[in-house]
Symmetry: C2
Subunit: 193 residues, 2 copies
């Protein structure tokens, strides 16, 4: 998505070859017009899929997801990250390892809001190692819901996430695919071809 790549080029901060900070339009401050454009792109890409629900993970997946939910006229469910290991029967839960923070957390969703009748589009702000996405997939599979697609705003294509998710049997659609962050500079996949 050209507009998103332009935003990343213009506003992202690259402190080192592994970290891409987009606090100024996605992860702390949110550019609401950009979120709507992201939602329109995702709607167009998944237009042939029957979607009954958007699922995302708190916190930064929520903004693009709610615009997409509005455009598709479906609800959004955000999975919660929990460090306290409260295991409640009414929730699905799975353990996820965060490489960024080097710790585990529980990903949780209520059994009421993800069911076998749902056709789910999973949306997240970032994909790197794919651990969060795989955790979300495990919960969606526990619920016996149908996962119709995965939409990612920014993919760090030099990490293993896409490979692992594709090996699990799911396609990944990313709006921006970062090939490299070397020399404090963002290079996209399509630029390196």
């Amino acid at each position: 998505m050209k507009l998103l790549e332009d935003y990343i080029k213009k506003y992202a901060n690259v402190p080192n070859e592994n970290v891409l900070k987009v606090d100024c339009f996605l992860n702390h401050q949110i550019d609401t017009n950009l979120m709507m454009e992201i939602a329109k792109d995702l709607k167009e890409h998944f237009k042939n899929k029957k979607i009954t629900k958007i699922v995302t993970i708190e916190t930064s997946g929520i903004a693009p997801s709610v615009f997409l939910g509005y455009l598709l006229n479906v609800p959004v469910v955000f999975m919660k990250k929990n460090n306290s290991r409260i295991m409640v029967d009414e929730n699905y839960h799975t353990q996820v390892h965060s490489f960024t923070k080097n710790k585990d957390y529980d990903l949780i969703a209520s059994k009421k809001y993800i069911t076998k009748d749902d056709s789910i589009l999973f949306i997240d702000d970032f994909m790197a190692n794919g651990e969060a996405c795989l955790g979300a997939i495990r919960i969606i599979e526990q619920a016996q819901a149908h996962l119709v697609g995965i939409g990612i705003v920014i993919e760090k294509a030099f990490q293993e996430g896409r490979k692992k998710v594709e090996e699990a049997g799911y396609e990944v659609y990313s709006l921006a695919r970062v090939q490299s962050l070397e020399k404090n500079k963002v290079q996209f996949v399509d630029e390196s071809n």
Copy 2:
């Protein structure tokens, strides 16, 4: 706001006289059409104010805020809750006590995204004891930004939040004001007059 009150009457869960659970349209599953209607109501209420930025608190304040930000064509900044007490010079931070969880957390916002040039509308999903709102006010005041208004989706009017925030010198506009949760039933302020 009639539509919101209807949603609360129809979908809210009232396990006891202090707890109002609206997981099914606001705090876990998000009704995106309702969020847009909430944003339209807030836009109308604050139409005479100059607003350069919406500020909210993660997580459940984000959905109504991004629709309002879109309608007003301004960015949204969500303050982060942090338990790890990382004090970084580039952030404003203040300590907030959560009565719900009976613990303290740090509320954090980057100095880059709240500045003295901003005219801020603060939005949150709930107001009960007002501690989160007062924390947000302290950060906005630290930043010497101008706080032009406070919009709350659901106010537990039988708790002290509004009184404390008004004593701090700010007006509160709430879309639904809950007077009582006694006998597992929601009663709104306007119904009890």
